[in-house]
Symmetry: C2
Subunit: 468 residues, 2 copies
C-alpha cells in the first residue's frame, strides 16, 4: 500500500506540471493510502518471519482485494461522475490487467487519471509476474508447481524471494516498456500516449487514452508495434531474464513458447483466410487487422482497432473461444494458459493410448519432462473449476438481466482478464458502464478469481481451511 | 441390420392397416436392409468368436454410422421432400435419442413415418442402455469402467453379454413404455399419439407427432406424466431391473440417482422462483411449465410446451448450461452425465485439501467407494475433450455462417443429444431444416461423438490405433 501511495504521487506531480487541479485528488488519496499503509507496517513490524501456507493463501487474496479498494480512490474522488462501484471495477480491471472499462469520453479525461489507469495496469502486470514466479508455484495452484525453481523452496522464504524476483524481473520489464514507448513515439504517438500505451501493451491490459482505442491512431506502424509487444508480453518473463544473462536459447527451446506462437500464427492465418474468402481482398490491411485483433484477444489485452463482430459469424465464435486461451505462465496474460492446454492434451493423448493397451504404461510429457500425476490432476481440476466458474458467473449475469451473448462473453472476459466482451453492449465498441451495479461487482470478482488462478480464492471457501 | 429391417415392417403393416401407400416405401427399405443384413451375417458366420479391443472400438462406431444410413432410407424414399442429408440427419437424431428435427408439418405427416421416427428413438434408447452396460465399461471409456459389473469381464464376452443384457433390460423398458402410454391415453391422447410419445419419452428423445410438441395437447395430466417419465428415463435402468428382482433399495441408495434428483429439483425451483419474481404469479401452471421444460432440457429429451426464451435472459443462460448436464450413466440420456460431475467434484475437492496439506493423503470417493486414479483421470480427460469438441464444432458452425447463439447452442444440443437449440432458427419453435447441408452433417457427427462418449470415436483418429 505504501508503494501504491508513492505511485499515486506520479500522476499528482504530472497534474501539477500541466496545471490540472486533479493533483489534489491524488495527493489526498496518496496521503490516506500512505497513512493506512504505514500504520499496517508499524503494526506488523518484526512479526513477518515465516508464514504458513494458509496465511499465504489469505494474504495473497486479501492483498488483491484491498489494493483495488484504495487504487479506486482517485477515480472515485475525481470529477468523473463515477460511483465507488464504477471506480472499484475500473481499479480491479486495471490491476488484474483485464482492461474492461466503465469510462467513456477518454479523449477528454484529465491526463492524471489516464496516467493513473496506465500505471495501475503496469504495476498489476509486474505484480502478476512476480506472483506467478514466486508465490503460485509454492502454493501448488492449478499445476503451477511445474514452474518451481528449486525444489527446496518453502513458504517461509516467500516474502524475501518475492522482493528479489520483482527486482530482477523489473529489468526486462522496464527495458521492454521503454523500447515499446520509443517505437510508439516513432510511429506517431505523442510522448504521453506513447508512454501510457507502452505500459498497457507490455502488461497485456488494454486501457487506452482514447475511446477508439488504438484505432484512434489509424497507423500501421503503431498496430504492428502493438501486435509484436502483445506477443512479447504473452511469453514468460523469466526467459527474457535468462536471455539478458546470456542464455537466449531458452526462448526457442521452451515448448510453452512454441505452442503459444503456433496457436497465435494458426489463429491469425485462419482469421485472415476467413476474411479473404469473405471477399475483402487479400491485402496487407486485412492481415494487419486480423493479426492485431486476434493477438489482442488471445493475450487478453483487449485493444481494438475495429469491431470484429462485423467480420462475420465465424469471427465472433472464434474470438469467443480464443478468449479462454491466454498466454504463457509467468507472463502478464491470464486465461487458461498454454501450459495447461499442453498438459491436458498430453493427458488426453495418454488416455487414448491406455484405451488401446489397458495394461500398458504411458507417461505424459511436458517440455521433455514427465508430468507428475499430481500436476496433471491439478491442471484438470483447474480446467473443470474454470469452466464451472465461467458457467456460474454467466448464469448469475443472466439473472441480472443480461442477454446470453453479453452474459457469456462478459463472464469469459472477466475470468480470462481479456477486456471487452462481445455484442453491442460490452463489445469492443461499448463499455461496461451500462451494466447494473451487481453485475460490476460480480465481474470484478470474476477478474480476481481468474487472476489468482481460481484455487487461491476458492480454497478460502473450503470449510476445512478455517478449522484448526 | 436384420433387426432394423424387421422393425421397418411395423410401420409398413401399420400403413397397410390405415390404407396409406407409404407401406411400399417401408417394404422396399426393409427388403434392401434385410438383404444386406443377411449377406453380412452369411459372410461373417462362425467368425465372431472373440473380438479384440480395437475391433470392439471399430465395430461400435461403424454400427452407429451404418444403421442410421439405412434407417434414413424410408425417410428419403417417402414423399416428404427430404434430401438424403435431411433423412440421415433425422435418422441419426432419432437413433442417438437427440430429437433435433428437420421436418415441419408433422401434424400432416403420414402416420407410418411418425411411427418410424418414434421406433428409431425407442430402439436407439434400448441400444444405448445395453451399450452403456455391456460395452463402454469394458472399453473403459471416459470413466465408464466404474460401472463394470464383474471384474473378470473381458472383451471376448461382449457379444453374448450384450444380447443377454438387452433381453433383461427390455423387461423394465417395455413395462415403463406401456405404463407411460396408458397414462398418456388417460390424459387424453389418441392411442397412436400415446404409444409414439411413450416411446420417445422413456427414451428421453423428444420426437413428437405434432409441430407444437407436447404443447399441442395443452393438458396438465400429460405434462406431469411426461415430466415424471423423463426423470425415470434419466435414471440407471439396471436399478429398475434390481428393483423388479426384489431389491428396490438400490434406487434410493445410489448416489448418482440422489445427485440427479437433487440437481433436477434445485434447477426446477430456481427456474420457478425466477418466473415468480418475474411477476408471473406463483400458480401451479408456472411451476408445471418450469418443471416440464427444465426436465426436458436436463435429460436431453427436447420436448417443448412453450418457447422458454420468452421467459427472460436467465432462462436462456440457465437452459444453455443445463444442456450439458445429462442424466445418469446407464440411462437413455446423454450429456456429460451426473457421475462424471460427481467424480470431477470429488477430485477438485480433494485437490483443495491437498493444497492445504501438501503432504496429506486424500482419496476421492464415489458412491462410498474410493475412485481409482485411472477413473478420475479418464473422467477429467473426457471433460476436457467434451469442452474442446463443443468449441470446435461451434467454431466450425460459425464458419458455415451460423451466428454465435445458434452455433454454440447447436453444438451443445448435438453433442449432448438434447434436441432443439436456442434462438429463433433452431430453438424450440424452429427446426434444423434451414441449416446448410454441411452443418447438418457436422451436427450428425456431433451427435455420434456425444452418444459414443467421445473416446469410442476419437480413438479411431489416433495414429497408433492403426499401427500393428
Amino acid at each position: 500500500m505504501s508503494t501504491l501511495a508513492v505511485a499515486m504521487c506520479l500522476p499528482a506531480i504530472f497534474d501539477v506540471a500541466v496545471g490540472n487541479p486533479d493533483w489534489q485528488v491524488f495527493a489526498l488519496s496518496a496521503a490516506l493510502t500512505m497513512f493506512i499503509g504505514v500504520m499496517l507496517v508499524l503494526m506488523t513490524r518484526g512479526n513477518v518471519r515465516n508464514i504458513s501456507i494458509r496465511q499465504a493463501f489469505v494474504l495473497t487474496t486479501v492483498v488483491w482485494v484491498v489494493i483495488p479498494c484504495f487504487a479506486a480512490l482517485p477515480l472515485a474522488f475525481a470529477d468523473l461522475q463515477l460511483s465507488y462501484t464504477d471506480a472499484f471495477f475500473e481499479a480491479m480491471s486495471g490491476l488484474t490487467t483485464t482492461g474492461s472499462t466503465v469510462m467513456l469520453g477518454l479523449d477528454f479525461t484529465p491526463p492524471g487519471i489516464l496516467l493513473w489507469r496506465a500505471l495501475l495496469q503496469w504495476l498489476g502486470g509486474i505484480g502478476i509476474i512476480a506472483m506467478a514466479i514466486a508465490i503460485l508455484p509454492l502454493l501448488q495452484v492449478g499445476g503451477m508447481q511445474l514452474f518451481r525453481m528449486e525444489s527446496s523452496d518453502t513458504s517461509d522464504k516467500v516474502m524475501p524471494r518475492t522482493v528479489q524476483i520483482v527486482t530482477y524481473i523489473s529489468v526486462p520489464y522496464l527495458a521492454l516498456t521503454f523500447l515499446c514507448a520509443v517505437l510508439y513515439w516513432f510511429g506517431g504517438m505523442s510522448g504521453f500516449d506513447a508512454i501510457t500505451h507502452a505500459m498497457t501493451t507490455i502488461a497485456t491490459c488494454g486501457f487506452s487514452t482514447h475511446d477508439a482505442s488504438l484505432g484512434y491512431f489509424d497507423s500501421a506502424a503503431i498496430e504492428v508495434t502493438a501486435t509484436v509487444f502483445m506477443v512479447i508480453g504473452g511469453m514468460p518473463f523469466v526467459l527474457y531474464l535468462q536471455a539478458l544473462r546470456g542464455a537466449p536459447a531458452g526462448l526457442i527451446r521452451d515448448s510453452q513458447v512454441r505452442w503459444f506462437l503456433a496457436i497465435v500464427v494458426v489463429s491469425v492465418l485462419c482469421m485472415w483466410a476467413y476474411r479473404v474468402f469473405g471477399a475483402e481482398g487479400a491485402d496487407l490491411g486485412t492481415f494487419r487487422a486480423a493479426a492485431f485483433n486476434v493477438v489482442s484477444v488471445i493475450t487478453g489485452t483487449g485493444y481494438a482497432t475495429e469491431d470484429f463482430s462485423a467480420w462475420g459469424p465465424f469471427a465472433v465464435s472464434a474470438m469467443f473461444f480464443l478468449m479462454f486461451v491466454g498466454g504463457c505462465a509467468g507472463s502478464t496474460t491470464c486465461g487458461i494458459k498454454i501450459f495447461r492446454f499442453q498438459v491436458l492434451y498430453a493427458t488426453a493423448k495418454n488416455q487414448m493410448h491406455r484405451l488401446l493397451q489397458p495394461h500398458g504404461v504411458f507417461i505424459p510429457y511436458y517440455n521433455r519432462k514427465p508430468i507428475p500425476e499430481s500436476v496433471s490432476e491439478s491442471v484438470m481440476s483447474f480446467f473443470f473449476l474454470y469452466v464451472l466458474s465461467f458457467a456460474l458467473i454467466a448464469v448469475c449475469l443472466g439473472l441480472m438481466g443480461l442477454d446470453l451473448l453479453t452474459a457469456a462473453s462478459g463472464a469469459a472476459t472477466a475470468i480470462s482478464n481479456v477486456g471487452p466482451g462481445l455484442g453491442p453492449q460490452i463489445g469492443p465498441s461499448g463499455t461496461f458502464a451500462t451494466l447494473p451495479d451487481a453485475a460490476k461487482w460480480l465481474l470484478a470478482f470474476g477478474m480476481l478469481l481468474g487472476r489468482l488462478e481460481l484455487f487461491t480464492v476458492l480454497v478460502l471457501l473450503v470449510p476445512a481451511f478455517w478449522r484448526k
